[in-house]
Every structure is written in C-alpha cells, then in structure tokens.
Amino acid sequence: MSAVKKIFVVEQLRRVQMSDLLARGTRLDGRGLSDFRELTITTNVIEKAEGSCRVKLGNTELIAGVKVNLGTPFPDTPDKGLLVVSAEVLPLASPYAEPGPPDENTIELARVADRGIRESGMIDVSKLVLVEGKHVYAVFVDVSILNVDGNLFDATSYAVVSSLMTAKIPKYVLDDKGQPSKTDEMVSLPIQTIPVSVTQARIGDHLIVDPTSEEEALMESRITLVSDDKGNLCAGQKGMPGSLTTDQVLQAASTAKLKGEEIRSIIKKAVYNG
C-alpha cells in the first residue's frame, strides 16, 4: 500500500471516528457540539502598549497590543479616526507557520477581525477626530499569535476587542496655533458595543463551535458570525472549500447570537475585574 493511500486510510478512519462521536453529541476532547474550550483573558500584559491582553482559548494562545498615535484621516472620511487591525501567526506558533509577509490565511484572519470591530461600530471613530480632515487618532491593534490550536478567528477577535476595551490613550488638546498637544490625562476609547465572534465548523452534517486544530483538519467548511450587544449580526465569513445548506447558515446565526452572549460576559468580567 502506497504512502499516499495509507494517509488516506488513516484520515478516513479519523473521519469515521469523529463522525461517530458527533452523532452521539460529543467530541474528541469530551466537549458538546456547542461548547467552547476554556477562555482566559489576562489584561494589561504589555505595559508599554496603550492596551493589551493575552488570550488563551484552549491551547490557542495570543497577545494583542494597542498603540495609538496621531495621524491624517483618509481623504474620503475626514471626520473619522483611523483603526487598523493586523495579525501575525508567529513562526513560534506552529510547525507550519513561516516567517515572512502575511499569507492569504493571515490576511483573511485580520480582515475578518477588523470587519467585526468596524461594522459593529464598537469604536465611535467620529470621536477620534481632533481637527477634521487634518488630525485624528490612529489606533493600531496588532495581534501576535504564539500557539496555534484551532479557532484563530475567534481568539483573535476576542484579543482585539479586549485590548481595545482596556486601552487608555493620552488625551490631546489643541494649542493656540491649532496644533494637537499631548496632555497627561489618559482616557478610554469611545466604546459603543462589544462585538463577539463565534466560529463554527461543519464536519459532515454537524456544526461545532470553537474547533481545535485537529477538528479543523477534518472540517469541510467554516462560518464565522459576529454579533453585537443587541443581538444584531454585524460581520460574517464563510471559509474553506466546502459548502453549507441554508438551514445550516440559519442554525449558525442563531448559535452565534446565543454563544456570543456567553462569551461577552466572560470578556466583560476579564476586562472590568481583570
């Protein structure tokens, strides 16, 4: 039997095992289909950043940091501050991660995290303006992924959200020449809502939340949906070269709302009591 055939057989066996488990409502690590792994958020781990946190979601581990400086707004949105979300899967994080510019997976990851923040209106960017068209706050959130064990989409989103919630930025005032000048006062960012990302993987006919790397290796498709405080969906992304039925999409939407509330209270607790 060729090596390639052998790998197929092994993968096939795992698929069958996984399928049997899912049919009985459980998973390799004993979780139910809609159970998240333990989520730990530790805030203010990087003192030099304006906001920061370390997120552990099972064995997936990452650090987010917020840096704020002054910038020039985009010409087509002179009345809005800047918000830039980036992520890097560090080569420390996995035997498959390579150093270098972000690949399409990492670009998608950062753009989906960004979409959740932006479309939920989490930050009132109109309040990040000092002089319209000229001087605005530029908020950079960077995520360094330290260990990969599945569900980077949600872990990244939680890290971005939590670090923004903890951030204290220097208040600027305008001097008599209309130039911004930094004061010693530190203020929070204008937070309007707490968007929560919930990612589900389809394996066979089952949708499971918060997949591990092992589960991701067997998933056919993935759907990430972000909901806000009021239960509105505000961002979404289907991924992977498989499909979903419309019923699965609707089921995913309702799970996203439900689990979103659960996670939101964990985030709030970590940030406000952390």
Binding site: K80, I107, A110, K238, T246, A253
Partner: protein, 251 residues
C-alpha cells in the same frame, strides 16, 4: 469604514424605488458572454450593472513547482484583480489585501462545484479581472468564473451563481450597488450551487437583526437563481445557439 455613518434616507423613495430606478427586490441589468477570449481554455464576460468583468480559465495544466501538485486531485488557483482604471480613484496595480481576501473566497466559492478529483497532479487557474467595478464585483466575478470553467470543459456538479442582498435606508434590498454599498447599512454577498441549494460563499458587512438576516439570505438566494438562469442561457447560446449571444435579464 463601517456602514453606520451614512445618511441613506435618499436611497429609497416613498414609492419604494431606489436611486437607480429599481424596486427593492430587483436585480441590475445583467449580460453574460461566453468564450470571447481566444487564448484561454474557457472565458466569460459579465456586465452586472456597471460592473464589467472578464473571467478566464487555463487548465487543467502542469503544476510548477512540481511539489505543489496533489496526487489525488487538481489544485484550483484563483486571482481576483482590479484594473487600475476600474475604480473612481486609480487603483494601484499591486494586489491589495482586499483583492487577496476576495481571491481566496472566490476560490472557496467555486471549489465545491468542481470535480477536481478528475484531474490529479494538475492545476486549474481562474483569473477574474474587474475592468469596471460597481459594487457586487466579487459576486459578478464568481458567476462569470463559473461560466468560464464550464466553457473550459472542467467537470462540475453545478454552476455557482452569486448575488448579494443588503440593507439600505432601513430596508432589506436585493443586489446592492456601489452607492448603496457605501451609504447603506449592510451587504450580504452569497454564492450557491442552485440545484442543491448549497451555500459556497457568504460574507456579511454591516448590521442585520435575525429577521433581516433571514430575509436578506432568502432574497440573495432568489437573486442567485436568476443569475443561474442567465448563466445557463449564455452557455446554451454559446454551444447550441448563435455564438456570443447576449442575454438580458427580464423580470
């Protein structure tokens, strides 16, 4: 930037008619032409409102470098790209992060429809070039690419048909155009395989409550099915009717 800021009151009038004269459940005019590029193994040109998009397929073909070939199926590769003159402001020709993401979701929207296992150790290249963009270019590009794949004779389970719904001026609408995308509240692009109702692309930008989401999803699905009819007719026109038949949506 998010979709919360826009004053979208003027986008739909009291009679429920949109800025460009459409009803809220009406698609923009669509034309599909098949097989118009000489060198490509398959090609299609789509006009979708003001979107003008060319799609071409090369393959199945040898893979370079060889070690990136797969023993049991073909590797599907997609590039979604905008010509510099396709947008209001000249677009830098280097691929943006947005184009890289759309290239990825385009590939993942098309892949479920293809019988890649029929072409082991090969690659199939899909190139989508946006010559003029007008909101919804990713959907139009996917629909054109699926027709180009059929024109190239790649074995497929079904065509992939794409269309967006969204929310504008507080109402769910079908097929969001550029202005509505910028000033509206939400955009939900969807792609499906029509005969099996499988969703192969879904993205969401902007806020929808659960009821709006359900409605937008169902409208987008019906939009996809209209696109499907036009894709089918274009292919039939190409292979059984007169060449380069141009079809227009009738509603």
């Amino acid at each position: 930037m998010g979709k919360q800021g826009g004053d979208s009151s003027s986008l739909i009038n009291e009679q429920g008619i949109r800025a460009d004269g459409r009803r809220i459940d009406e698609l923009r005019p669509i034309k599909i032409e098949v097989g118009i590029l000489k060198n490509a193994d398959g090609s299609a040109f789509i006009q979708f409102g003001k979107n003008k998009i060319m799609a071409a397929v090369y393959g199945p073909k040898e893979v370079h470098p060889k070690h990136s070939a797969l023993p049991d199926r073909s590797v599907l590769r997609c590039r979604y790209h905008m010509s510099p003159f396709s947008t209001e402001e000249r677009k830098n020709p280097a691929p943006s992060r947005r184009e890289i993401e759309i290239s990825k979701v385009t590939r993942e929207a098309l892949e479920p429809s293809l019988m890649l296992e029929d072409y082991p150790r090969t690659a199939i290249d899909v190139f989508v070039e946006v010559l003029q963009s007008d909101g919804g270019s990713r959907c139009a590009g996917i629909s054109a690419a699926s027709v180009a794949l059929a024109d190239a004779g790649i074995n497929m389970r079904d065509l992939v048909s794409a269309c967006a719904a969204g929310k504008v001026a507080g109402q769910v609408v079908l097929d969001v155009d550029d202005t509505e995308d910028k000033e509206g509240q939400a955009d939900l692009p969807i792609a499906i395989m029509s005969t099996s109702n499988q969703v192969t692309l879904l993205q969401l930008d902007g806020q929808l409550n659960e009821e709006e989401f359900n409605k937008a999803l169902s409208w987008a699905l019906s939009g996809c099915k209209k696109v499907y009819e036009l894709q089918r007719e274009a292919l039939i026109g190409r292979y059984f009717g007169k060449n380069e038949k141009v079809l227009e949506v009738e509603q």
